[in-house]
């Protein structure tokens, strides 16, 4: 599983960081980004889905599996 945060949609609610600090980082202006290239280790997939389901701006998306 791979995820990304759309920086144009993110408004800094920091819900993803609160739920899954292993997967997200937040800068001083509140904008979230994924840690590394957004690859989610299998044991954190449930947390990633939780973050996706709680973002009030629908800013987190799961990327389609690569070729």
């Amino acid at each position: 599983m791979r995820i990304r945060v759309d920086p144009d949609k993110c408004q800094g609610h920091a819900r993803c960081y609160g739920l899954a600090p292993e997967l997200f980082d937040v800068d001083d202006y509140g904008t979230s980004s994924v840690v590394g290239d957004g690859t989610v280790p299998p044991e954190l997939e449930a947390k990633a889905r939780l973050a996706i389901a709680n973002c009030p701006e629908f800013a987190i998306e799961e990327l389609a599996p690569g070729p």
């Binding site: 408004q11 800094g12 609610h13 920091a14 819900r15 960081y17 609160g18 739920l19 937040v26 800068d27 001083d28 202006y29 509140g30 939780l50 389901a53 709680n54 973002c55 009030p56 701006e57």
Partner: protein
């Protein structure tokens, strides 16, 4: 407070200051969502009240048609001074881009995750001191003696203003927000705040410190210092926005825990659910409604909105929409899917949300650690404020 005419038709003549609505708006929102999801009234001008999540968030995101130039739920109906001290209002909350964008960026780092962690200790110590004052009494007013005392002191610390003046600040803020339909009182509150900040700006000019106000005065934008009225507006905003909003969330949460023993005990027994529980309490008891002004005639879901109309963006109503939340009127402490908008949505997302969340969590943690069992005092009255910010103002509880 002025009295309100009774409401007979909530779809076309609503009044958010109606005493029954202030006490409990939930049934009204449910009825409106099902019959007339964007209600209208001509009380205090032409106002619209969207109650569905989809409409509330759509309007919050549409900054072209819905301006933040006035965000007060109750319009000021007194005489405006000829030369207002705050020529730009309270930026960034009462601003649209571009003023919104750069003033918001000045404030955001003060409320970042990292900074807020640094305020946690003093918040915790403050909560403990407050609890010590009443824990032996077996009773307390959880709103007046506790919830109302916390945010104003934390914000005072951040702004670098005297903690001793907390009661005075609180008085001004209540006059501005809770007595907004009393022009004389709201003006008195605003003047109090402004005169204070005018003096504080002068004091910082003579001896700057490491506080937010000093930092704003030091900051240059495009090689120019920031206009004094913007500095004061932003500082006044930080004070106003962080006081009764957060104390209302703390107070409502304590009201919930006083009246729901199973949730109270669950929080003590299952500390791992706290992060979800805090979000759930924020969802169910979202305190804040913000207004927008329609910039040009526009139709939304069949409602003909005219330029100048006011939209009351009820984030609290959005957060109880059954289309988005299962069993919306129930508090489910470990609710996993909770896309709530207690802090708004779009570019005006509450800049202090990290701080508010920390204060709410620490206030509840410390309360439950010292007073795990408590209930409403029988025969004593719980009173609520509403309009812009909903929360309990008197919350007598006992813990014998």
């Amino acid at each position: 407070m002025t009295t309100t005419r009774p409401v007979s038709d909530w779809t076309s003549d609503f009044d958010v200051m109606d005493p029954d609505y202030v006490r409990s708006p939930f049934e009204t929102w449910r009825m409106l969502r099902e019959s007339c999801p964007i209600a209208h009234t001509n009380r205090r001008g032409s106002n619209w009240l969207p109650t569905r999540y989809e409409d509330v968030t759509a309007i919050a995101h549409d900054i072209e048609h819905f301006s933040s130039i006035e965000v007060g739920v109750i319009p000021f109906d007194g005489e405006e001074p000829d030369e207002p001290v705050l020529a730009y209002g309270l930026p960034p909350i009462s601003a649209d881009p571009p003023l919104h964008t750069w003033t918001r960026r000045l404030l955001l780092p003060w409320f970042s995750h990292r900074r807020v962690e640094g305020y946690e200790d003093l918040t915790r110590q403050l909560c403990r001191r407050l609890i010590e004052c009443f824990v032996e009494d077996g009773r307390a007013d959880a709103a007046a003696d506790y919830a109302q005392q916390i945010p104003v002191r934390v914000i005072s610390h951040i702004l670098g203003v005297e903690e001793d003046l907390s009661d005075t600040f609180t008085g001004w803020v209540r006059e501005v927000l809770e007595f907004a339909d009393d022009a004389e009182r709201s003006l008195h509150g605003m003047e109090g705040l402004l005169n204070y900040f005018v003096a504080e700006v002068e004091r910082r000019r003579r001896g700057p410190g490491g506080d937010l106000l000093s930092e704003l005065l030091r900051t240059e934008v495009d090689g120019q210092p920031i206009d004094d009225s913007i500095v004061m507006g932003a500082a006044a905003l930080v004070l106003i926005a962080g006081i009764d909003t957060t104390w209302s969330a703390i107070g409502s949460s304590l009201w919930h825990l006083a009246t729901h023993p199973e949730d109270r005990r669950r929080l003590v027994a299952e500390p791992e659910i706290w992060p979800l529980a805090i979000e759930e309490l924020l969802r169910a008891y979202s305190p804040v409604t913000m207004a927008r002004i329609v910039t040009g005639d526009v139709e939304l879901n069949g409602c003909p909105m005219k330029a100048g109309d006011r939209i009351l963006l009820s984030f609290p109503a959005a957060n109880r929409d059954p289309e988005v939340f299962e069993r919306p009127d129930e508090v489910v402490l470990d609710r996993a899917h909770n896309r709530h908008v207690a802090f708004g949505a779009g570019i005006h997302r509450c800049a202090g949300s990290n701080l508010a969340r920390m204060e709410l969590r620490v206030a509840l943690e410390e309360w439950l650690a010292a007073i795990p069992e408590f209930r409403l005092e029988e025969g004593a009255e719980v009173t609520w404020a509403g309009g812009q910010v909903r929360g309990p103002r008197q919350l007598p509880v006992v813990f014998p």
